[in-house]
Symmetry: C2
Subunit: 351 residues, 2 copies
Amino acid sequence: MAHKLAIVGFGGMGTWHYENVSKRVDEVEVKGVYDVRQEPMDTAASLGLKTYGSLDAVLNDPEIDIVTIATPNNFHKDIAIKAMRAGKNVISEKPVTIVSSELEEIMAVAKETGKLFSVHQNRRWDKDYLIIKKILSDKTIGEPYYIESRVQGSRGPLHGWRGYKVNGGGMVLDWGIHLLDQMLDMIDSKVVDIDAHLFSIHTPEVDDNFKTMIKFENGVSYLVEVATNCFINQPRWHVCCKEGTAVVENWDCDGKIVKLANNDELAWEDVIVYTSAGPTRTMAPRPEETTEQLELPEVEADWTNFYRNIAAVLDGKAELIVKPEQCLRVMKVVDAIFESHEKSHSISVNI
Amino acid sequence: MAHKLAIVGFGGMGTWHYENVSKRVDEVEVKGVYDVRQEPMDTAASLGLKTYGSLDAVLNDPEIDIVTIATPNNFHKDIAIKAMRAGKNVISEKPVTIVSSELEEIMAVAKETGKLFSVHQNRRWDKDYLIIKKILSDKTIGEPYYIESRVQGSRGPLHGWRGYKVNGGGMVLDWGIHLLDQMLDMIDSKVVDIDAHLFSIHTPEVDDNFKTMIKFENGVSYLVEVATNCFINQPRWHVCCKEGTAVVENWDCDGKIVKLANNDELAWEDVIVYTSAGPTRTMAPRPEETTEQLELPEVEADWTNFYRNIAAVLDGKAELIVKPEQCLRVMKVVDAIFESHEKSHSISVNI
């Protein structure tokens, strides 16, 4: 029998949960919706969903065993705690909270109640990410040492509540959370230093553009960038490994791998490139026959595995994929990003 | 009458000074060469240049009024000091020294002797750099807030003495010096924080790849990267200003400017992009009619102005362009880069 789900907060993401779970996840059934606004409630009713008059009404419905929270970020914690205490399993949209200490409160209640708690870190199933993850785990071009992960747009001012500090707005807590979660999921090492550069170009209260340079204990450095004021985009991924470079250009996953095929000592004397103000041997191009171009690997990218995993965990058949402890690491990185920005200095950590 | 120049160190760069000054700079004449190696001396002789048997022989030639030093980096200081004390004006190849304190010694001798001292920071005349400098000074796309300046190659192990620590090898002191000098020449503000990530992929003694994130007092952040193990190149320049983005792809100066033409509030509700694991409104593309594409500006990039300026300064007709105090700022940034790397932490500065 399918697990019954209620969605609290039926805006953009709430609607997306409904549509995708309804159409694509047999193991979970969306039963009803609660939103403080009338318009989303009307939409829910027109879709044949039960509309609850209050959060308590959701929590008092004994049929509901999972509550998905898709409200503005500042409401996640209180709703999650209340729902678990009412005996519900809980999925929170990201960012799970605004600071890590709030997530620790939630995790304490999950432990106390024994309920399942997870966070909708759906972008662990993004195809571009899974391609890079596979290149690294297969060691196609050897060990990584420098990775750039960027999401760039140019729409300027942030949409709705994402522009307000009280709601946990800003790009670190929005797209940043995804890129940081992917990073920690992929690099098997501790974060030791975080240097953050936040900008408020169009949205005075929060960061609408940021770059953060992160250093891992194993020697990998990792640049995470989110931009809303970038008019000429760079690749989604640029990954430097010891034996080659991989690029994924965009969400359609155009891109390539260029791999070192022959690292015999090159004849330096013969190859000089002339720039307008001088020559360079160091930056002369490498002969083409000493490299090999590979296509990006094929990967299966099925986001619905997120909800299938939740159902399987509740049925005692699987281990939880998106674990609260992992989300706590992400939130600790976020804490350090804001601290680094405030201090105009990098922050030493052990995360 | 042309100023008479002797070149000390007649390798790759020394030869380049000879060829370009001889062919293109009427105000300066290359008279002779000294190198500790026989082969370059034979080359010099075959070119009709005087070959000096020792550094002292150069310094004792009363006709010589400028000495250009193009030896490995660790010899610059002693030769510069000796030459100025012998009454010569001195141009040093970059990096002028390996640490800033050595440059301060040179500057003290320049002051004591009254001789001209400059550094061959020729890449202030690189066309790609002058294009970006003009875009910023013309405020074509408003104020900058984030700049990436990269030079990427894939030839791996560094050439000759550039691979050795004792010679001041490594990419920070090689291409890095140029990119940092351009940065300080362009951004009219103090450097306040430096976070450096150095890698030794193929050359164990020195950095052969590095990234450094630099924060200025005026709010600009600036990434400088030099790579010798990058197989898929990124643009030479990616410059984010408040009202647009400029890209120069390469030394041939392909590229473009995309400028915000209409920043009226966009209708957010209608535009959602679906990635494989979820929708995004924030990163949906901006309608094309709200931006405008401009060509990169035309600039004059004549490197020979470096030597013409030296001659004009000696003739009392101009102010020195590449000033030792500017080079000292660059060297102080370099000191902080190495310190940041050692400490795995950013370094607060006031440079």
